[in-house]
Structures are given as C-alpha cells and as structure tokens.
Symmetry: C2
Amino acid sequence: MARNKVTIKDIADSANVSKSTVSRVLNDNTPVNEQKRKAVLAAMERLQYKPNLVARSLAGGSSLTLGVVTQNIGSPFYDSVTQGVIHGMSGSDYSPIFVDGQWDRETEISVVQTLIDRNIDALIMVGGTLDVHEIEELRQDKPTVVIARHIDNVAIPSIAIDNVQAAKKAVEYLIKSGHRRIAHVKGIPEHQDAVDRFKGYCEALSDAGIELEEELIVNGDFSSQSGVLAIESLLMRGATFTAIFASNDEMALGIRLGLYRRGIRVPEDVSIVGFDDQPGSAYMTPPLTTVAQPASDMGEAAAEIALNMLSKKEYELPKLDAELIVRESVKQIRP
Amino acid sequence: MARNKVTIKDIADSANVSKSTVSRVLNDNTPVNEQKRKAVLAAMERLQYKPNLVARSLAGGSSLTLGVVTQNIGSPFYDSVTQGVIHGMSGSDYSPIFVDGQWDRETEISVVQTLIDRNIDALIMVGGTLDVHEIEELRQDKPTVVIARHIDNVAIPSIAIDNVQAAKKAVEYLIKSGHRRIAHVKGIPEHQDAVDRFKGYCEALSDAGIELEEELIVNGDFSSQSGVLAIESLLMRGATFTAIFASNDEMALGIRLGLYRRGIRVPEDVSIVGFDDQPGSAYMTPPLTTVAQPASDMGEAAAEIALNMLSKKEYELPKLDAELIVRESVKQIRP
DNA sequence: CTGTTAGCGCCTTCAC
DNA sequence: GTGAAGGCGCTAACAG
C-alpha cells in the first residue's frame, strides 16, 4: 500500500527495452512487438510497478481523473447523484475526485480551479451556480457535463428532468384524488427548479379549470424549517386547503411537522406531496408521496458521457423521466 | 478562469532574476533580498502567475492538497463531518479533495490509492473499514488523522466521541423519565460504534438495577429498513416495552414508521431515542430525542490538526462530547 | 516498430 | 544571497 518507487526506467532495464517502449505498452497507443510487450508486462508485474499519475499528468498525458463539483449541503438528492457518478465510473481506469461548491459562487469558482490545477481530464458539475457562459468557457478547456440542471447550450451535454412536467404530474394526481384547494410551498426563487415546479403547479390547476389563489401560495427556501414556517403562514392567513404540494421533500418534512404541531392529521385532514424522493421520505409518518428523480441514473449517465467524450466516442443524452411515487400521505376524496 | 500558462520562467525573466529565486520567494524557505522579493511578487501579480500544482508536486514539493476519505452512503452524519473539514480548511492554502470509500474495504483501499497517487500532503479518514495496522502504515507515509472512530494508537490522532458514555446518557434519560422496559435496536455488529452504544445501553440498565432482557434486544444494520423490521421482530415475539433506544437515527426513523403502521403512538405508547441527531431528526413527527455528535466540530478539528501536522506545529486532540438533545419523542412517566 | 532526445514546471543541491 | 544544473517520472516527437 505504501508509495511505490518503481519507475518505468526500472522496468525498462528489467525488460531490456527503452523507457519509450514501456510508455507505449502503458498507453497502448502505438504498436509494440508482442515479445517485448509481454516482457514489459511481466517486468511490471514482477516489480509491482504503479504508474506515477503526477508525472504522467505533467508530461501532458492524462491524469485519469474526473473532477466532480457537487453542492452537498443538506441535499440528499445531490448525494444520490454523486453515488451514481461513482458507480458509472467504476470499472473504468478513471477515478473521480470531488469538491464541494457549497452553493456559493465564489466557492464554486475556487474549487473548480483546484480541480483544474489538479489537471483533471474532464469535469462533471452537479447543479451549481455558474452561468452558462462560464461553463461554456470551462468546456473549451475540458470536456464538461452538467447534471441536474438544464443548460441552454447544445455544446454542453446536460442531464436533467423536466421539472415542469414532473410537478404537473404530482399536482394532477392530487386533483385526480379529489382535491381542489391545493396549496403550494415554493423553493428558492433564484433556483430554476423551484420556478419550474411552480409553473407545473400552475399548469395543472389551470388545465383542471381550478383558479390560482394567491392565498394558497407560500414562499419557502427548500429547507425543512421553511416548511414549518409555511404552515404557520398559511394558517395565519386563514387559508383553507385539503392538500399541499411542496417544491421538495425537505420542506414537506417541515410541513408535516408544522401540521402535527397544530394537531392537523395527515392525510386525514391534509394531504402532502413532495419532490425528490429523498432518502427518508419513504420513512416519514405517513410515508410521503413524492416525485422521484432518477438521481443515481443521472449521475451514472453523466459519468458515462464524460468517459465517452474522453475517448472521443459518440454519446447521446439519455431521456430520463421523473416518476410519481404514491405513498400514504395523500387521501382519496370521493365526493 | 482558463488554464494559466505563465511559469516561473516567465516571471523570472520579467523580474530579472533566476528561476531559483522565484521558487524561493514562492516557498519562502530561503532568505531572499527584499528588493528582488518585491520585484518577483510584483511580476507574479502582473502576469497573473498561478503555480502549477502538478509540477510542484512532481518536483517533490507540496501539492497543497488534503485527501479526505468519506463513507457517504446514506449517512447524513458523515456529510456533516465533511462540511466541518471543508470549513476547517478554508482560509488555508490547502484544499480538500474527497473520495468515497462506500464502507467497502476494497473500495476504500482503492480510493486511498488514488489519493496517494495524486500526491496529497495529508490524509483524513472519516470512519472507514481499514484496520489500525493499515492506517499506521499509511501514517508513516503521510500525516493521517482519523475522525469518528476511536483508534488505539497514540501515534494516530483520532477524533471521536465516547460512544459508550453517550449511549449511556441516552438510556439513563429514559430511565429517569420513568421507563423500565427499554428495548434496543443494535447497529452493524462489525461497527465499533454499534458495539459501544450497546455497551452503554447495558451499563445504564445495570447501574439502575434493571435486568438485561434478551427479548428486548434486536439486531439492526443502521438502515431505516432495519428499524421497521426491528419493530416487527419485537412485536412478533410478544415483547412489551415502553421505550426504544436505537443505535442511530436512521433506524429510529424506521422504528417510528413501524410503530405507526401498527397503530402504536409515539410518544404516548412508546418513546424513542436515537443517536446522531442527523438532519431531519428534528423534523420527525414527533421530533426525535437523540444524541448529538458534534460532527461538524470533529471535521473542523481534524482539518486543523492535519494542517498543523503539515507545518510541524504542535496540536492537541480536542475533547468533544456528545450531547443529548431532548425532543418530544419521549414521554415522562410518573408512577 | 523502437531507441534517443527533449522537455512538462518546479524544487534543490552546489558552487560562487 | 543567488544563479546554473540536474532531476522528479513520464510522454511525445524525432530519427532510425
């Protein structure tokens, strides 16, 4: 496990060839006499050779590393994406290295820089705050793929679900279940996800001929705490409703607690639908009905695309859809 | 933001000194004439010089990088530790790079290797499955600090709370609240944490003169799912109890759901205490009484210690204690 | 096909 | 103090 000091020179000597030849079999990019190739391989095995990635990297070769920029803070969803990336990369010669952007622009720029300083071969951005223009700039330097975020630039492969449709599906389910007075707790206004989900909510109501009521719409910030506050706010203004659609599960959690504190039962009095199917949502009491983003699949697909880009292979963006997971947090109202 | 091609040669020329001198002011390890030093600094500023970490690393210098091995899977606790590490490192010249061990020995060995291949300056291990001996081996190569795990080797700085004491405190609280029949759901048997927490449970009962009952002890694996199963198992065997101490919050979540499904109320019928105070536990219904590990503080302390080791400074292990967070999931029984 | 020759950007003796 | 060399381990033209 300790650091290996065996270099290609050692194995070159040991196999009676030149360093170049060793390098060649190592990179498998130039034909090499089968005899020598085997001798080299044998020597590598014998001396337990392990390539020095730093040197290889400096010499202009690949560093066999993919950089992944995540935004971990309080978001199980991003964690799942990350796991997907790891999975999608296992089996390849590459390994992932993660840095945390903390949902902060400055931080993100800085961590991307460390990645670049580290000479990564490709970049995977999970969410993030950089604008399209900046990402485009990065892409010119390194193959870049963006996950969990829709990018309006065909040159930048991005993998994201259609939040509008997904939210719409969720609200339609509530309507189909007999609910008419459906409240909505929004996410961070600057987040496109939040905007899209709100849009889906509006469309679903509109399609069903239900009028949008300002009174039933509350601002949130994707945190559990804001879910609790949202309930306070709704109740304070005397709003009446039989269901709530939360822009994410985190807030649904807070909403559920807020209702509990007021003695309002779920789903008997009020039904809840969330978004993300984050770990734990299936274990809420009652288990939460929510929209499942294929987080892991998204991560995995991104890893594969990045790998394909590196080997100049063709790739195509997968078509991933969110799925409504129906659990016991919604009451069926039969009029 | 793009890759900088300015090298020390450029700034050497620009400042009319030799590359060596530039390198010296860069590393600040050899006296340099104040005039030249300023000239160099000015040139660096002017040309926007950014050191090439890869080259520096290859040449034997520091890579200004700390490697962090986490075990993310389904554990908000580890995520908090990670955030602490990030925080503890901000402000220094170093930056963290993360890899995921996935709680799998093979994987862990492999990711540690990528870190070492990357020539990191120090290693921080958050939990993990490597044995003390292996860690000791790593330590001889790189400064290493271990978090969230007790290591019996004074040479390896480790930061962890006393799980026995913490668990004991939790169970004592239940006893103090009037509970006598307290069940326990264990964690993964191979995990020292699980073993220690079970031990704390035993000690608390013993100290209170309550006999240990096999019937009240169930195996779990730290997952929510195993919490649900634990309840099934307890009920199946006809056990009676008024409280449950779970080896972690994740299982407490499952336990709560299991009880809900059986129509058993919390805390009216059964009280629950968890361990970890993971994000979300405060938002359970009812909010969970649990043991809060100072996860973030632990991470931060680890980062500082690692940094100090690198600069050969003295350091001391912080004394961190877990704290019982009392919330509404425990009923006070007054006989 | 393969060995030789140059570096990649930086750090570190070693003389001056 | 400081510049000139040499080298970290590897890759990439270059000639054979």
